[in-house]
């Protein structure tokens, strides 16, 4: 029994980097959502470093091949997606129209939440100068924001923050990929 386990362990370590690349490619391909290196490492019982190296090598290959697909890091996970330039053909084939965009009010509310999170409704009002209840409902419905508990302040207002879906829908690796809010100052006047 012990020996068997040992043999299995040896077998696992026997995966060559090239083999590992083909395996992670298949897994990322079938995934519904971006897959983290940790999940891949757990499933394959491999070292996280080895997984990351394999994915990075694969991403380089995709890049060099200049094919129809690209490998991206979204919400901290790996994702295989079509290339931007092919959107017309892909959309025509899928017979889909671009989904409805958020209103200006909702985008502004989302921007305040993304940069000030966790943030309360009164704090959003302070910055936007307008009630944002409708926008907050829209953003909650679209799962772009989530409630982050109540603030220990008068009235214990609910705090909101962005969700994983926000990162996915806006193609962000993580929140630090957003440009600093102070960078927008240069655009003012």
């Amino acid at each position: 029994m012990e020996m068997e386990e040992e043999v299995q362990a040896i077998e696992r370590t026997l995966r060559s980097p090239a083999e590992l690349m083909t395996i992670v490619e298949a897994l990322v391909f079938v995934a519904d959502e971006p897959v983290t290196s940790r999940v891949l490492a757990d499933v394959l019982e491999e070292d996280r470093g080895a997984i990351e190296a394999a994915m990075e090598e694969l991403a380089k290959e995709y890049e060099a091949r200049e094919g129809g697909l690209q490998i991206r890091v979204i919400a901290g996970g790996w994702q295989i997606a079509t290339r931007t330039e092919l959107h017309e053909e892909v959309r025509k084939f899928l017979k889909t129209r671009p989904s409805a965009k958020l209103s200006l009010a909702s985008l502004e509310t989302l921007a305040v939440i993304a940069y000030k999170q966790p943030v309360t409704v009164p704090e959003i009002l302070e910055i936007r100068g307008v009630q944002s209840a409708t926008s907050i409902k829209t953003l909650l419905d679209k799962r772009l924001i989530v409630a982050k508990g109540r603030k220990e302040a008068v009235g214990r207002p609910m705090m909101y923050g962005t969700s994983k879906d926000f990162l996915i829908q806006f193609g962000l690796r993580d929140l630090t990929e957003l440009p600093s809010i102070e960078d927008f100052e240069d655009l003012v006047q």
Partner: protein
């Protein structure tokens, strides 16, 4: 209740609003969507080509009030927040008219009544720009497809009705349990169910169930 309107279609690259006087001097207005009073103020300041750090408060207040009047005339619900800003502007304007306290000027304690508003406008404008950045990102993201998204792409009711009609025409009858089993998501299942109701209502078909809890068959009459 003051709620911003959500139903407008919005294009970030279009002028948000415009007040035009045509030949007959009749005031015409192209209503755009303003995200709020600060947005309207920024627009008016830009339109007057005024310096945000030295806002001609009398002129801007007058333009702002004109704008609100037009909105009212056109029966557009003016959110309370717009009226709050009107009051703020009028207050600043009147404070600017008051003679300055000579002592305060000497001691450099004099604060420009516009300062707080300027700070708010500058802070707001940063987030307005950030919203523009998010808008650009969605545009790019809509050009990128993943398998996950495609799987989640839901079939429309019209398409579902078409599919079901085609199956009835082809086979003469459709077992609804089998039809529903082919649905990939809850949403699709609901769409399929509504499609069945719609077809029963509009087409010459009949629903048959021979035994209690038995299969339900949709059959062409």
């Amino acid at each position: 209740m003051s709620e911003e309107l959500e139903q407008y279609n919005f294009d970030f690259h279009h002028e948000t609003a415009e007040i035009v006087r045509d030949g007959s001097e009749e005031l015409k207005i192209k209503i755009g969507e303003f995200a709020g009073p600060l947005d309207l103020l920024l627009f008016l300041i830009k339109q007057e080509q005024a310096n945000i750090f030295d806002i001609p408060i009398a002129k801007i207040t007058q333009k702002y009030l004109e704008y609100i009047q037009i909105m009212k005339k056109l029966d557009i619900a003016v959110a309370a927040d717009f009226l709050v800003m009107a009051a703020t502007l009028i207050e600043i304007k009147s404070r600017m008219l008051l003679p300055r306290d000579p002592k305060a000027v000497e001691e450099e304690e004099f604060e420009d009544p516009r300062q707080e508003l300027v700070d708010r406008l500058l802070e707001y404008e940063k987030f307005k720009s950030a919203a523009g950045m998010l808008y650009e990102r969605t545009t790019i993201e809509q050009a990128i497809f993943t398998r996950g998204e495609i799987a989640r792409e839901e079939i429309s009711l019209a398409d579902m009705i078409k599919t079901l009609k085609a199956r009835i025409l082809e086979l003469g009858e459709v077992n609804l349990f089998e039809f529903f089993e082919g649905m990939r998501s809850k949403h699709e299942l609901v769409t399929a169910f509504i499609a069945v109701l719609e077809i029963v209502r509009t087409e010459t078909v009949r629903l048959l169930q021979k035994t209690t809890f038995g299969d339900i068959i949709l059959r062409k009459v």
